[in-house]
Amino acid sequence: MAIDIDVTAGPRATVVAPKGDLDMAVADELRRTLTALIDGKQTRLVIDLAHVLYIDSSGLGALVAAMKHARGAGGDIRLCALQPDVHAIFEMTRLAKIMDIHPSRPEALAAWG
């Protein structure tokens, strides 16, 4: 199953904006997309979740894997614009403390200075 993912490379970081539900049907594709970017030396990623209304453990796993991969390559991922229900899942799993989460895309980009 395909998911719509916008990717925009910028001077500070590459912005990745998936659209739709991040569930088991699309988690592998998301994981592959993020891995390919990091392996392609785009190790600073901003993942804009403004258009994601649902995420399950598969989607979380894809984001965590990308975080670990990016950090291993000297970069990181920053999440932004989480919808309240999605943010609640990050709080529930304590990922809100481990992952870098910002209210908006500009703030996430600015965090890289």
């Binding site: 569930d23 049907a25 399950d56 453990s57 598969s58 670990k68 229900d85 609640a88």
Partner: protein, 144 residues
């Protein structure tokens, strides 16, 4: 007595969106707060994920059946599969401080619902029963 609503789906990840649409409509119709609907949607989704991944080892086309029942005090959702039964002795709670990539599904279910039970004393598979009390009366779910 027949449940309020029921759905038959197959163990194909592409069917999860259809399941969520069905469950969302059914839950909202029961007067549950929207954020509670969203969490229960996730809990049920995680059990469906586990049926696909673990009960059926990723094999598509296998049956998963869901039902929803409601009374003034609670909502009850059942998720049934006919694959490999859940083995509680193999369950390990995730180490949340280690940011696990896997194993969060059942943890999320337990965090969301007020009661959780499973039945493997049957010919095949597992029947999970999730209970969510209507707001104003919640408990921690007991472990499987």
């Amino acid at each position: 007595m027949a449940p309020l609503a029921s759905l038959s789906m197959t163990s194909d990840p592409e069917q999860l969106a259809r399941m969520r649409a069905w469950l969302w409509t059914a839950l909202v119709g029961q007067g549950l707060a929207l954020d509670e609907c969203a969490k229960l949607l996730l809990a049920v989704g995680e059990l469906c994920n586990n049926a696909i991944k673990h009960a059926y080892d990723g094999q598509g086309g296998q049956p998963i059946r869901l039902s929803l029942d409601a009374d003034p005090a609670r909502l009850t959702v059942e998720v049934e599969d006919w694959g490999r039964p859940f083995d509680a002795s193999q369950y390990r709670a995730p180490d949340l401080d280690a940011a696990p990539e896997h194993g969060l599904g059942l943890f999320l279910v337990k965090s969301i619902v007020d009661e959780i039970a499973f039945d493997v004393a049957r010919e095949a598979g597992t029947r999970w029963t999730l209970v969510k009390y209507r707001s104003g009366d919640s408990h921690d779910a007991s472990p499987p």
